[in-house]
Symmetry: C2
Subunit: 331 residues, 2 copies
DNA sequence: CTGAAAGCGCTTACAG
DNA sequence: CTGAAAGCGCTTACAG
């Protein structure tokens, strides 16, 4: 079932290929009768332009790469972050009539593939997700000359333009809330130290704690429930008298609450818990989770707009969106 | 920053474009010295083949479309199903050196876009997700002649090949477990009636209930937490004496437990709860959720293999993977 | 084993 | 306003 070409449409409409091309591309320098005849032929033949041929001459592909750079261990995690970003990006790109090409790079081989793919001119731009400190991808992609933006501030020294939420301010608000509730021993479960979301939320915690004559008490996690549960066990061992914990993600807060329950601590009576992200699950925990809203979809939309308006050689300023403390029952 | 072409590599290596093409594509009919010279030139110039030009002549794109057909209301839900499928498909396709092009079709305009995109030869095959009864997409895509497979049995009369889990059997096992525990008034929160996962899980429930001289008690949901919470409220109103509920998704089970808690019912003492899917969150509810394991990633892998091995004109048999009851504390 | 040549299906100056 | 022609960057019979 061979698809009809421009040639076939031209023959049917009795015009040249150039004219068909003009009509198909919406040029307004075509006589109405001719346009109508061409459109009829297009319709009758079910003509759809071949995208490879078009890209070859226009040097555009009308697709954008969404590169997710994650270690294999987290690739199957059910972090809603991924899903929300993917959907928001697709939706926003849809308005610009562009497609999303998804690329997971979870290994060195994966990185090489992504790099080749981008260098092969397959996409007009790249959105980077989940950047880790040692990640060589940003530098490699920047070198291809293709426009690149990052969802979240990258750790690496070579920095593509990015959009992020106010991680430090959000963490600060969370911990200040705990201080305001009179909590004395406030611990934190931090995110991975090779991601800026991990670093910045920890920085916000430290600022408030050290500014209020409290001692800091830190355990590390990697944003997953399981790591939150493990970190909470560690924290209880380190200081059985703690009366509050700020987890750098809702998933870790959920894991922490699981551990607290098993240890017989009541939330918030014995230990107050605050999360970060305000994912939907935060409304369904027992008790419902007090957390910091992370405008994930809004950041994604901003990224897309940034990418689409990027002029060659230009370095736009980062965009930082505000967070908001959402008080529920856990703290 | 113009990228080097075959031409440039040929000039540098002192051979013809045909020879460079052969080396780049791994043909073994090239003399070793020449191959080495070409590879050196490729390296020095940083040559990467232009994919549009290659596709134009080979008529292949080495990418596969993943089409998610969902109403806008659910597009931003954080159902891990979406994330798991996307990741599993990418991973599996990576082994075959193919890329995933993600397409969300959440409106009539979206459908038209997807159809045009596929008809435009942008992808070599299509994987369909979240099919709803009235969805015109399967028929439209099948008409393009591009290979299509579906994740989950489609409702529509025109049926692409598919892979699914044993929804009926899984639901049966869940309800039999409740019967075995001596529960008398077993309700169900069903999925949407325009999706086979909704229909089949309800059918499994009905089979067991009606085969054990119990009355059925059904409320409808749409697989989300919120719908599960609302359905549970309805159920408690309809029959305050119910002592068990089978929810057709873990998310709905989580919503139902939320409602039960607010209504002062203890789980499982007053009301036993069983879910479906065994998402990670099921291990972190209070109490941990008894559920039916849905091998989402395995189904996705099977789909990809099916798609890649599809011969033109062939209609492979559906593949149905088994489910497994996971007993925890909620029932 | 290698090269000259045709051709994949489009777009876009350039003439007219 | 329209058409003839060149060209985008590859691959692949076909000769040799």
């Amino acid at each position: 079932m061979r698809r009809p070409t421009l040639e076939a449409v031209a023959a049917r409409a009795g015009v040249s290929r150039a004219t068909v091309s003009r009509v198909v591309n919406g040029s307004d320098t075509v006589r109405p009768e001719i346009r109508a005849a061409v459109l009829r032929a297009v319709e009758e033949l079910g003509y759809v332009p071949n995208s490879a041929a078009r890209s070859l001459v226009t040097q555009r592909t009308d697709s954008i790469g969404l590169v997710v750079s994650e270690p294999p261990s987290r690739v199957f995690s059910d972090d809603p972050f991924f899903s929300i970003v993917v959907r928001a990006v697709s939706q926003e790109l849809e308005n610009a009539d562009k497609q999303v090409v998804l690329m997971l790079a979870s290994s060195a081989a994966g990185h090489a593939r992504v790099e080749r793919y981008v260098a092969g001119g397959h996409v007009d731009g790249v959105i980077l997700l989940s950047l880790h400190g040692s990640d060589p991808l940003p530098a490699a992609l920047l070198r291809t000359g293709v426009p690149v933006v990052s969802h979240g501030r990258p750790v690496s020294t070579v920095r593509p333009p990015y959009c992020d939420c106010d991680n430090v301010g959000g963490a600060r608000a969370a911990v200040e809330h705990l201080v305001g509730k009179g909590r004395r021993r406030i611990a934190t479960i931090a995110g991975p130290p090779d991601m800026t979301a991990g670093l910045d939320r920890l920085a916000g915690y430290r600022e408030v704690v050290s500014g209020s004559d409290r001692r800091s008490l830190v355990a590390m996690g990697d944003f997953t429930r399981e790591s939150g549960a493990a970190a909470m066990r560690q924290l209880l061992e380190d200081d059985p008298d703690l009366d509050a914990v700020f987890a750098a993600s809702d998933l870790m807060a959920i894991g922490a609450m699981h551990t607290l329950r098993k240890a017989g601590r009541r939330v918030p009576d014995d230990v107050a818990v605050v999360g970060f992200d305000d994912i939907e699950a935060a409304r369904y925990t027992d008790p419902p989770l007090t957390t910091v809203r992370h405008p994930i979809a809004e950041v994604a939309q901003a990224i897309v707009r940034m990418l689409l308006s990027l002029e060659p050689g230009q370095r736009p300023e980062p965009v930082i969106l505000p967070t908001e403390l959402i008080v529920r029952d856990s703290a």
